[in-house]
């Protein structure tokens, strides 16, 4: 089987698998609505009581849009892959992949892209509908160039987030017990990526540290592309940073996995 055939096959399997869990997806969309609602009321109270038009550098409209966009982007980029990969390492399912004439990394990446394909499109439509509604409501104009770039930004975010998960999952090579561990790391990654609040909330120092890390290019950056906070040159700059971090994380993950595989015992399977 050619290289191309192999991975398109995995991609298609991913698409099929995702269509099997449609109801789950709808429920998860509905549950994404509640945190948005809670934060909507918080921010409305915050901005309503004060003459100060800006908090953490955001106007009210930008903050509300950030909240909505961040919640939806989190749903899109969240992969759950660290859990899957870590259990493959722990229960020995990785064995069969080591002898197969296909790269484990490639298999996981393409099956993820396949799984996300359908929802990615649905979410894009929802995002644009929300945006259309909100920009009419709040009278903000999101530059057309930002809209055009967004699909690209989101795709890069998804790949970058996958690489982060893939790297973190390698910790399973060293851990004896993994049950809850990746739930914890996953949550921290979402917080650091700006999935709960924009990273400005953490304060200046934390922000400076986060600027040297890849996390905020997965949720914080795409959300700000769509709330009109970033000008087009900043968007393009951000996309370059995303590309940089993808390259960097690719190297890091390869290195970590090479060391990890030397430790790998292949128990079970």
């Amino acid at each position: 089987m050619s290289f191309y055939m192999k991975y398109t096959r995995v991609f298609k399997l991913g698409v099929q698998a995702s269509l099997e869990y449609r109801t789950d997806f709808i429920f998860s969309l509905v549950s994404a609505f509640f945190p948005i609602m809670i934060q909507y009321y918080i921010w409305t109270a915050v901005y309503g009581q004060s003459d100060n038009g800006e908090f953490f550098g955001y106007t009210y409209e930008e903050m509300i849009l950030y909240t909505i966009m961040a919640a939806v982007v989190t749903k899109i980029v969240a992969t759950n892959m660290d859990h899957v990969i870590a259990s493959d390492i722990k229960n020995g399912s990785l064995n069969k992949h080591l002898v197969q004439p296909a790269d484990y990394f490639g298999l996981k990446l393409f099956s993820l892209l396949g799984q996300k394909m359908f929802f990615f499109s649905v979410m894009l439509v929802i995002l644009f509908a929300v945006l259309f509604y909100c920009s009419a409501l709040y009278e903000i104009r999101i530059p057309a160039a930002n809209l055009a770039c967004f699909a690209g930004v989101l795709a890069l975010s998804l790949v970058l987030n996958f690489l982060i998960s893939y790297t973190i999952a390698a910790i399973a090579f060293w851990l004896a017990e993994i049950s809850y561990f990746f739930e914890m790391t996953g949550l921290f990654v979402i917080i650091l990526s700006g999935g709960v609040f924009p990273v400005e909330v953490f304060g200046k120092t934390a922000n400076a540290v986060l600027s040297c890390l890849p996390f905020k290019y997965t949720i914080y950056f795409p959300a700000n592309v769509l709330n009109g906070k970033l000008a087009i040159n900043e968007v393009l700059e951000g996309m370059l940073m995303q590309a940089f971090w993808i390259a960097a994380m690719l190297l890091v993950s390869k290195a970590v996995w090479r060391i990890g595989l030397k430790k790998y015992l292949g128990l079970g399977g």
């Binding site: 109801t23 789950d24 709808i26 429920f27 998860s28 509905v30 549950s31 994404a32 609505f33 509640f34 945190p35 609602m37 809670i38 009321y41 918080i42 109270a45 915050v46 009581q49 004060s50 908090f55 953490f56 004896a176 017990e177 049950s179 809850y180 561990f181 739930e183 914890m184 949550l187 921290f188 979402i190 917080i191 709960v196 609040f197 909330v201 953490f202």
Partner: protein
């Protein structure tokens, strides 16, 4: 009366056995125990971000000051800990019991089925960070607001926490009971967790409609709002009575639902 007393006593003894048994089991897998605590700390961290935002923006909700809000967040954190420790593990398992037919085995045991299914497992690690942080937040808020530390105030606060605990049981078990009819209710449970998080903020922040629904229809908001509101003197007589009635009505309704669910159980597979 005497028989009722005896039954209560034996159930209490069984429950103490459950606690002992779970403690022994958890001490055997200590890494898991510690990781469970670590996960809760991560969740706690994400909740504390809200506190940061409240103080940074000097948020006042009506005339509730940031210190007042801290008391609500603290109560919410405590209740989350109690829910995670006492009920969560059990409720997650219910749909597995139904799917795998394990319920057959539990049915033949000489105790109430609802009791053993919904209270069998107690997690002693997970609640620790939440309870510690929650109690601290309530204490800080309590002190900052200058609420007198009298027996009456503490007793009434604890009383409404107990009422909240009963409501928590009644509400959060609903998705699990529905799994007797629909096999997979994970999505619905996810929605309930999301609604649960609405308690993170005092209820006056929400619109009137949401407050009405949250107090009278699905009494989620009663869980973390009533205890701090009573000690702050913000709960009027009518609501105080509702805080007592709501858990009773809810538990009665859940009991009926449970009976219907058991009638519907077909013991498939297993």
């Amino acid at each position: 009366m005497k028989a009722w007393h005896g039954t209560m006593k034996s159930y209490l003894q069984i429950y103490l056995r459950f606690i002992k048994n779970c403690f022994i089991a958890q001490m055997e897998y200590r890494t898991n125990f510690i990781l469970g605590i670590a996960v809760e700390i991560a969740y706690l961290f994400s909740k504390l971000l809200y506190v940061v935002v409240v103080y940074e923006t000097d948020l006042h909700i009506g005339d509730i000051t940031p210190d007042g809000i801290l008391m609500f967040v603290g109560t919410y954190t405590m209740m989350t800990g109690l829910y995670a420790g006492l009920f969560f593990t059990n409720f997650v398992r219910i749909s597995d019991y139904v799917r795998t037919g394990e319920l057959d085995l539990l049915m033949v045991k000489p105790v109430s089925l609802q009791f053993i299914v919904s209270l069998r497992y107690i997690d002693l690690g997970m609640p620790i960070p939440n309870l510690a942080a929650g109690i601290t937040m309530v204490a800080i808020g309590w002190h900052a607001l200058g609420i007198p530390v009298t027996f009456y105030h503490i007793a009434i606060f604890v009383f409404y926490l107990l009422s909240a605990l009963l409501i928590t049981y009644g509400l959060m078990i609903i998705p699990s009971i529905l799994s007797f009819w629909f096999v997979n209710t994970g999505g619905l449970a996810g929605i309930f967790y999301a609604i649960w998080d609405a308690n993170n903020m005092p209820m006056p922040i929400y619109s009137r409609l949401i407050q009405r629904i949250g107090v009278y229809v699905l009494p989620f908001l009663v869980i973390t709002n009533f205890a701090p509101m009573t000690v702050m003197g913000r709960l009027d007589g009518g609501l105080m009575v509702w805080g007592v009635l709501a858990p009773v009505l809810l538990l009665a309704a859940v009991r009926q639902m449970w009976k219907q669910a058991i009638k519907n159980y077909s013991s498939a597979s297993g």
